[in-house]
């Protein structure tokens, strides 16, 4: 009973704050509306008994949305920009696309023959999750991690216009790098 009520509140809240993203007139509020939607989804995951995944969603989404807020706002708005704005471009087109996608997904929920549950949930889902990831699929997960990390490093290297020759001189002999704002370790 309590679970049903909490789920209903979270489900309605998540959808409502998701809608709010496109209704509010400020980039900051849109960011936090999206964050609220993610957090309520995290609570719904907690209700499934997947406490680790649920808390992790909350943790990661707060951090991620804060970093995102900086990027969205640094390029777009003045402080506390309540300047009338909208997250929607091409209003008619986007409404049509999102309506069709919603109908397709909803039809999928109704039409797909869902399998019956076999077996019982593990006593400790966190442990089961860890074993699933780190057991048989260890190699895949490590490769995925490595690829992700390499992508991030490569993207940063491509984005910066200052390389080691700018920092340490043409023959890389400079003792201290020549940076606009130096770091704490002189390297």
């Amino acid at each position: 009973m309590v679970g049903t009520v909490v789920f209903a509140v979270c489900a309605v809240g998540a959808v409502a704050s998701g809608v709010a993203v496109f209704v509010v007139d400020s980039m900051a509020r849109a960011t936090f509306a999206l964050l609220a939607s993610f957090l309520l989804t995290g609570v719904a995951i907690l209700l499934l008994g997947l406490s680790y995944l649920g808390v992790l969603v909350i943790l990661m989404m707060v951090m991620e949305m804060m970093v995102m807020a900086v990027f969205m706002i640094m390029y777009m708005m003045n402080p506390a920009g309540l300047m009338p704005m909208t997250m929607v471009h091409n209003r008619a087109g986007s409404l049509a696309v999102s309506g069709v996608v919603f109908l397709l997904l909803a039809a999928g929920i109704v039409l797909v023959p869902w399998p019956e549950r076999e077996g019982t949930p593990p006593p400790d889902p966190t442990l089961a999750l860890g074993e699933a990831i780190m057991g048989r699929h260890m190699l895949v997960m490590m490769l995925v991690g490595l690829v992700l990390f390499a992508t991030m490093v490569a993207a940063t290297v491509l984005a910066t216009h200052r390389g080691r020759y700018e920092r340490y001189g043409d023959d890389l002999r400079r003792g201290r790098p020549d940076d606009p704002i130096g770091g704490g370790l002189d390297r």
């Binding site: 400020s26 900051a28 509020r29 936090f32 964050l35 406490s51 680790y52 808390v55 992790l56 909350i58 943790l59 707060v62 951090m63 949305m65 804060m66 970093v67 807020a69 900086v70 706002i73 402080p79 506390a80 309540l82 400790d124 966190t126 704002i181 130096g182 770091g183 704490g184 370790l185 390297r187």
Partner: protein, 308 residues
């Protein structure tokens, strides 16, 4: 060994945090009074008198503010502190001891990132905005070492449950077993409570930073919330690294409080004795020194767990 407290204990958590937070504020004021050449005793009433001033002071209205986010941001700081503290056992009993208590603490503590940024942004002031940015970069600098320090403690216990982490320290405290993780935890405790050397998001050079435009009860909530948060992160050090309520003679809950007060006193003293850490310099230290140090610490703990 851990039990779950009766429901009314939920009210005990904020009460204890406020008492500890008041103690931290009074200790800070006493150290300050001594530096000013006055009697340190006058510090005991200083937080109460400051609260009286802020209760009378009017709230501000500034043109162009995002009032919703501005007010919400300040209120989130004490709320996050209390939520984070729900998993901290007093003696052997916690309000809640979920199987992922360590991650829960981590998730609630990160809410302060959002809180401070909302505060800085909402005030429509350059000082606040710069303060908000500063706290985000501070977060990105301390968070990874902090997570690895938590991971080291959880790895040593083989569980993310705070009660299990305490139980795993029956022989030897994790502060002894993994000193690097403990030190990094203390550094990140200062950083996440934007306190002392890591107080630049509300720093004097920014005319108060994210708090630059706050007044009256809003400012009271933020200042009190920061001390409450400091008390919560100090309290979490006890089950993670200092053996929880373990100790001779006295009951467990007394030992938890004594150890928490000790950690809190250390943090307050560090705030008094150290100048601010400039974040543009600390970021490199965080990523180039602290992340590898904590990774090596996790490796050492993993090897220890395997050969034990």
């Amino acid at each position: 060994m851990s039990g779950v407290a009766p429901p009314w204990a939920v009210l005990l958590v904020p009460a204890l945090l406020i008492v500890l937070g008041y103690g931290a504020a009074a200790g800070t004021a006493a150290l300050r009074a001594r530096a000013a050449g006055a009697a340190p005793v006058s510090g005991l009433t200083a937080p109460a008198r400051e609260s009286a001033r802020l209760l009378v002071q009017r709230r501000r209205t500034i043109p162009g503010t995002d009032t919703l986010l501005w007010r919400l941001g300040g209120a989130l700081v004490p709320v996050a502190a209390v939520l984070a503290a729900l998993v901290i056992p007093l003696g052997s009993t916690a309000v809640s001891d979920p199987s992922v208590g360590v991650v829960w603490f981590n998730a609630m503590e990160v809410v302060v990132w959002a809180a401070l940024w909302m505060l800085g942004w909402g005030a429509n002031s350059v000082w606040g905005l710069v303060g908000g940015y500063r706290f985000l970069i501070q977060g990105l600098s301390y968070e990874l070492p902090h997570m690895f320090a938590l991971t080291a403690a959880a790895l040593g216990a083989g569980s993310l449950r705070v009660g299990d982490v305490v139980a795993a320290q029956e022989q030897v405290w994790f502060a002894v077993l993994m000193p690097a993780a403990f030190v990094v935890y203390l550094v990140s405790a200062l950083a996440m409570a934007f306190w002392g050397p890591f107080g630049t998001p509300v720093g004097r050079d920014l005319a108060g930073g994210v708090a630059a435009e706050l007044s009256g009860v809003d400012l009271l909530v933020l200042r009190a919330g920061r001390y409450v948060f400091l008390a919560a992160v100090a309290a979490m050090a006890v089950p993670l690294f200092l053996g929880g309520g373990a100790g001779p003679l006295l009951p467990g809950w007394v030992w938890t409080l004594v150890k928490t007060a000790g950690v809190l006193a250390l943090l307050v003293w560090l705030g008094h004795r150290l100048p601010a850490v400039r974040m543009d310099r600390f970021t490199e230290v965080g990523w180039v020194v602290l992340v590898p140090v904590t990774l090596l610490q996790v490796l050492a703990v993993a090897v220890y767990v395997l050969v034990r």
